[in-house]
Point group: C2
Chain length 332, copies 2
Amino acid sequence: MKKIMNAVADIVRESCEGFALAHADLVRLSTDPLFLCRADSMSGRVGLLSGGGSGHEPLHSGFIGRGMLSAACPGEVFTSPVPDQMLAATKAISGGKGVLYIVKNYTGDVMNFELAAELAAAEGIEVQSVVIGDDVAVEDSTWTAGRRGVGGTVLLEKIAGAAAEAGADLAEVKKVAEGVMENVRSMGLALTGATVPAAGKPNFVLADDEMELGIGIHGEPGRERTAMKSADELVDALLGPIIGDLGLGRGEEVIAFTNGMGGTPLLELYVAHRQVVKHLEGLGVRVARHLVGNFITSLEMQGMSITLMRASAEQLRLWDAPVVTPALRWGA
Amino acid sequence: MKKIMNAVADIVRESCEGFALAHADLVRLSTDPLFLCRADSMSGRVGLLSGGGSGHEPLHSGFIGRGMLSAACPGEVFTSPVPDQMLAATKAISGGKGVLYIVKNYTGDVMNFELAAELAAAEGIEVQSVVIGDDVAVEDSTWTAGRRGVGGTVLLEKIAGAAAEAGADLAEVKKVAEGVMENVRSMGLALTGATVPAAGKPNFVLADDEMELGIGIHGEPGRERTAMKSADELVDALLGPIIGDLGLGRGEEVIAFTNGMGGTPLLELYVAHRQVVKHLEGLGVRVARHLVGNFITSLEMQGMSITLMRASAEQLRLWDAPVVTPALRWGA
């Protein structure tokens, strides 16, 4: 294992410290318990809190800022954060209008966010939660009952964050988040595994001409391991289940998000995105907005995922609203 | 070799097509000859053109837009673009105030941009050039006489771009670019090699506990291959030669840029950046601005580079000026 790190036990904290130094204009760091939150006040606005295991950066910390998350709780690599972190972050961002938890559907995350919500309620902070499971690859998975939460989370955080920034109340922000979840689906593939620092060896190994279709962001098994295919064939293999599950049809509009797993260069991601657009155009589906890059990753894994969201005019308006975070910025 | 691509011969063109689809609000694509340029008019402003081999994305295409590059010419992977591309791009962005070529110091790039400048002059377009060589690792290299052009290029394109956007004339923009070059130095390291698609195998192989200090962005040899070290030791090993060469001293201000080579996760880059800041603070040097991420890459290479620029108040003002490109956005 070769990684740019000091002691394994320090990698998450030290990375958060470096992140907070680099983005002091946008975020504040608490080290005990560990969380990151917006540098500006949340007074009078609904707070948005997410979190999960580290190793998926820029998700979630990179999305803290105006028009997106209010705070994020990083767990150890691929390990849920704990309720103490979530409670402290909830208090830090509570601006009097309640807090929405955005939870990716993994058993540990779901359980710990539920506990934190109870603790917050006991302290008089109203909390609502949404649990996102947008991965169409498999029905249940290694650490998940039901579908895994993956790339759709990025879109959810952006769109719900825009609603919260605009002053929507907690019920409204939750409804916006649910509107994203109903209309977003994803699927990914891996060309290589990734090495969790504490494990010291790759979570799985693929042969030189092998890839895994339907991979999870922690390396959870997908649908099948098959021979490597061309970019266009890979994209088509991911889009088929997504489009089928969404029931997308001619004349509809989507946000198309081609995401890298961390170790795949942009050069390749744009080759894939080209086919995403061509495939959808061939079906009469219009790509109204595009997002391409490494936004929800799996350490240094090579591979990609595709996320499609059927988008209404109102959802596109929220997508276009200004966002000022370390990893996503536009319009302001 | 496992890459998300179709035919090797098509990877650069198809990637540019996907890029142009994803960023149609900002860029326009010409496929014959191949270049990308701003979607808006350059009338009345100095044009900024860069380019070089592909495989370093988001450099350069990702930096096209308001406040940065006017156009970029992508060559084949790790191969210089040709003068025909440069001439066509020059014409496309010529707004009557001349064009500045920003050239990384590699023999092929330098020669082809020189030829293009002659062709442009013959067509009545005034062209000036700057050749950047900011890599302190080695004096001459595989494809370079003198120092290689690396991470400093990103800072140069941003700062010169701000001057051009503000309406500076060609001589002034060139002077701003030269002011960056005098004050910026970089050095990188690799944990793995990278595979050029046309070669089909890694450009070099490092052992499980080995890294190469002073690597070039095409895998050119560095100073030495040594045993893997801690993140803090790696950062210190890069900073020493950079700081020495710049002659940085107590009380000075810098822009600190921690760059990933493509395959290294953000989790690790921020661990490194933490030590960059601590090391500089220990010397009494203030980090006035931060940039962390994969901005000048070497395909899927794991590793990083560090770039420091001694920055005046005027240079910081140009750094802070609005920039709206696919890969770098702020302030507007």
